[in-house]
Symmetry: C2
Amino acid sequence: MSTAGPRPRRATIRDVALEAGVSRGTVSRVLNGEPYVSAQAREAIERAVARVGYVPNSAARNLATRRSQAIGFIVHEPHELFLEDPNIGAILLGANRVLSGSDHQMVSLVIDSERDSRRVARYLSGGFVDGAVVVSARQDDTLLTTIARLSIPATLVGRPPATSRVPWVGIDNKGAARAITEHLVGTGRRRVGMIAAALDRDSGADRLAGFRDALGPAFDRRLVVENQLYEYTAGRTGMIELLEREPEVDGVFAASDAIAAGALDALRAAGRRVPEDVGVVGFDDSSWALRCQPLLTTVHQPARQLGEAAAASVLAQLRGTATDEPAGGLLETHVVVREST
Amino acid sequence: MSTAGPRPRRATIRDVALEAGVSRGTVSRVLNGEPYVSAQAREAIERAVARVGYVPNSAARNLATRRSQAIGFIVHEPHELFLEDPNIGAILLGANRVLSGSDHQMVSLVIDSERDSRRVARYLSGGFVDGAVVVSARQDDTLLTTIARLSIPATLVGRPPATSRVPWVGIDNKGAARAITEHLVGTGRRRVGMIAAALDRDSGADRLAGFRDALGPAFDRRLVVENQLYEYTAGRTGMIELLEREPEVDGVFAASDAIAAGALDALRAAGRRVPEDVGVVGFDDSSWALRCQPLLTTVHQPARQLGEAAAASVLAQLRGTATDEPAGGLLETHVVVREST
DNA sequence: TTGTACGCGTTATCAC
DNA sequence: GTGATAACGCGTACAA
């Protein structure tokens, strides 16, 4: 328990009114840029504001207006992923951009423990935010039920559980996975494997489904290695595993660029050449793709736009102009061919 | 301009009091776990809370208590760096951990434009947070003057401008740079260069100063390449530049691991072997260091602990038990020897 | 054009 | 133990 005392008292509208010799109502009007104030009063008030060092208290304003002009950006991730996943940063920046444009403060909240989870729920309930963008919620996330119960405007990034009716934005993971697998097969690969990840989330499961679709009868469950997270080390170990299971493998679909980067390093260590001996493709088109050797062929995912779309959707709900789900429709992806195929 | 209306009315203490047949005061006491409430009243109130679906409104509570139980985590970075810098994530997690432990909500605010900057200033003024952790403030940051003016408890991560008297936590960049440069020289290198970055910030400038110190008379300004940011591509281009200026170079101190990773790739492309032909060292001991080939010798920087120390410092200020500056003292760093030297 | 007075939902200080 | 009731700082009808 912290035992902090109140902060030093700051000037209020009252002080300004006294100083300027007008009423609080008039001060309030000036502060909110309303018409019907004499130039004289306005000027006196502005001077008074400066003199007493007045700054408005939003807690009071929130209480009166019942709105906070703030939107939560909630990230629910285990440490590792939060640090490794380049998409989250881009989504965050995208969201911040549109919120900033409509004069909303984005406040991002990270959930990193059960305790965090409860506190964030309280925070949402408390009227600190008018709405929320939720990134990478789990299928069974209690956060979603909290949000539903409070009926606070929210939009998810990524497809929510089928039972939920929250608006969301996302991409067609399955279609994109199919497309890039087809590209890989199109370069003449015969024994194609996948390093999958995060099968407990829609993105992970859908990418595997797309891979399976593309391969059709050629699909071989033995050539799929599974991991918890979309991370570099999973790529290294996954690739080693894959080479053990099938030394003849000549094509690999990695569920993320980070995984692909790990796979490339493992392949190099094993003496295989890319793309001559084996073709590798990733997913995300994150900064990982450009720091690989060779440059990675991958699926471009519009991470920043996802953030923008999600934020726009929340604002739309706030205005009461919410559209159908999914909020922004599915955003476009496309295959970026580089050197690894 | 958004034109949102108020959200649906939610149950208040008043409703609970009515429902339970007691006064608001008693309800408030129960809610805050205070003593002197009859078991009977307590039970009735708890049932009433559940029945009317009461959730406390923090705006009102904030107004009454004049505290928000929230701490701002302010990141002031250009996009690229925010996405590339692995330290920020670790610092953030560290801060969240200690704040979470003392039941404070961490809200992170990113400043990404002039407009953001002003809005965050308003946000801070508005009583939304009781204090703030500020990461990577610029030397001339207006944020710092805002914070000083409002006298809101804050702690910086990284050394502030000399003129400022804000508490801060950090590491001894200069000493650490000297140490790792000495290690590099100790492996027998004769022509040692540096790929420097962010000279407009204390970290960047201090690392260069430490490098210079370690080299003493052997220091050669020509062998220092400068960059804006601590990023991978700066490492590639910087290394190429360095090789052009001095083909005989056999040692490189990169101002960050990301830069070192770029340098390693550039060296490989140029046909130099590491560590045989040239030794490379980095700074940060971030995840970059472990995905390099060869594994990178670098300075371990306790990023997570920096976040923890900064948060603890803010909480201490809140409690009125603030210590001298720097807030947490300088945190320890050490050289981690791996394969690149 | 300006002032008054009430409401926002809690906490806190009293008497009882 | 409990119940009134005055803050907390601001927005906003309504009256003047």
